[in-house]
């Protein structure tokens, strides 16, 4: 599903965010990306989202080479990827429903279909009763779940999450991870960047660790499986 081939990313002359990255995340897998802050986790996710372009190397997502994706095509690629952010990126001037509906609206989904799928997604994260509220009225954990509902409402085949449990207490974090596992069980490929090592170890999923932009665990460099 995701394949990195000798990918590097430099910012300017001096700063290198990622160095010669090689890995392959198969379809239907659920994996974690860990590392200290500034190790390049977010950069890696941004490369997959085409928010950044690599300085060197090749990235394939769903079999498509990203370096051959022209700017105009970027939105269409993003429609197949659900993303969850640490700060959830919700719009506070809209209702929960409208926030979750956004990915469907940009695809031109018919309104009736939008309503059906938004409710299904909200039901999945257990917040169907709050569809008419503003995200401001919700707790941090609930906001994050709205963010997840928005990420999956489009039924993407790939789900990325950047520190989805960053601001949450352990119980809520486990809750959120449970949701990701559920999506993975129905076939969604999931890649989660987090520094919450304890949580990651407990779940027993493949782990890739970045350090100073290098992959030091998982991927191609380390042959031994990480866990489980």
């Amino acid at each position: 599903m995701i394949e990195f081939q000798h990918v590097s990313k430099h910012y300017g002359e001096r700063f290198t965010a990622l160095r010669d990255l090689n890995f392959h995340l198969p379809r239907g897998e659920m994996a974690f990306l860990t590392g200290h802050s500034g190790a390049g986790k977010s950069t890696l996710l941004k490369l997959i989202m085409l928010m950044e372009r690599p300085s060197q190397g090749r990235i394939l997502v769903g079999g498509q080479a990203l370096d051959r994706t022209p700017r105009r095509q970027v939105p269409y690629l993003r429609r197949h990827i659900g993303v969850v952010f640490q700060d959830h990126q919700l719009l506070f001037d809209r209702t929960v429903f409208d926030n979750v509906a956004l990915p469907l609206m940009v695809c031109g989904t018919p309104p009736r279909e939008i309503a059906r799928r938004v409710r299904a997604a909200l039901d999945k994260v257990g917040l169907l009763s709050k569809e008419k509220m503003s995200p401001v009225q919700l707790s941090g954990g609930e906001q994050q779940r709205i963010g997840i509902a928005r990420a999956v409402v489009n039924k993407p085949s790939l789900l990325l999450a950047d520190e989805p449990t960053g601001n949450l207490d352990p119980a809520l974090s486990a809750d959120i991870m449970g949701l990701f596992q559920q999506f993975n069980q129905v076939g969604v490929t999931v890649l989660i960047a987090t520094h919450d090592i304890a949580l990651v170890e407990r779940l027993g999923r493949p782990v890739m660790t970045l350090d100073q932009g290098r992959l030091i665990r998982g991927g191609q460099r380390v042959q031994e499986p990480a866990h489980g």
């Binding site: 890995f23 379809r27 950044e52 498509q64 105009r72 429609r79 001037d93 940009v106 018919p110």
Partner: protein, 341 residues
Amino acid sequence: MAKGASSNKPSSRRPPMPPPPPRRRGAAQARGAWREQLDSYLQHHRTSARDSADRLYKAPLSSMMTGMVIAIALALPVVLLLVLASVQQLSGDWQDTARIAVYLADDTGEEQARELQQQWQARDELSEVVFIHRDQALEDFREQAGLQDALEYLDSNPLPHTLIMTPAQDYRQEAVLEALMASLESLDQVAQVQLDMAWLQRLNAIAELMRQAVLVLGLLLGVAVVLVIGNSIRMAIENRRSEILVVKLVGGSDTFVRRPFLYTGLWSGLLGGLLAWWLVEVALWWLSAPVDQLAALYHSDFSLLRLPFSGLLSLLAVAMGFGWLGSWLAVKRHLRLIEPR
């Protein structure tokens, strides 16, 4: 287990994802899907249009200020053009009622003059020929010009007999009139023929020149309108930065992101156009009193032209066009700069 490129085992839990860009479904469903796409496209147009109008309505002060700037810039050339059109129409009226004054030679007596009058009256080119006796002319002159005292000093009447000729409706063309004048001038009994149109032509030329100047002014003000709208759209884009970022993150295309701003430009233009119309009406009402007074002094029924309905429609169309153009320029320039990082 993390998968290296060499050691991965393909998972068979899920069918492959269709590669982007998205594919349409099967042929049987194609038409229905196409229909749905069109519906939702129109739906987004409706939503954007309504949402943009809503935003303008909810910020009345700034909307009105932008609208007023646009209105002033549009109303100024429109009022000037209407005034010029009025003046040109007036000179057109006078052209219609042009008369030829034929001053007869001093030695042409009254008998001869009346004969000439009969003779010319018979011609097709002229609808009417009036004879004015020299004494009558002097009397008129005395009354009108208030020159009695000066005229007292004259021993005899210096004025000749005069024939005032009115060209027939069908012959009011310059060439015809000139030929007519030439044949009149060639007569022995005639001293001078005058068709006093030169000043009218000059007035027309001046009005035409001013019309050109107003068009240039209008063009410059049009540029100003485009810039004003561009600037307000730029601010709107800044205000909705986070929203634009999120929309781009979830796969909103440039067209999708652009649409509400283009509608904002369109509506701002429409608002500006309506306000401009109102300003034009106020200005004409304001000017009409002194103009009527002036016209009354000259026994004229001259009055300023009002903006016709078609003119109002063009004004609104131009305003909306400028609005759209301004927002398009702003959007083209600024939306690109807002990319998720």
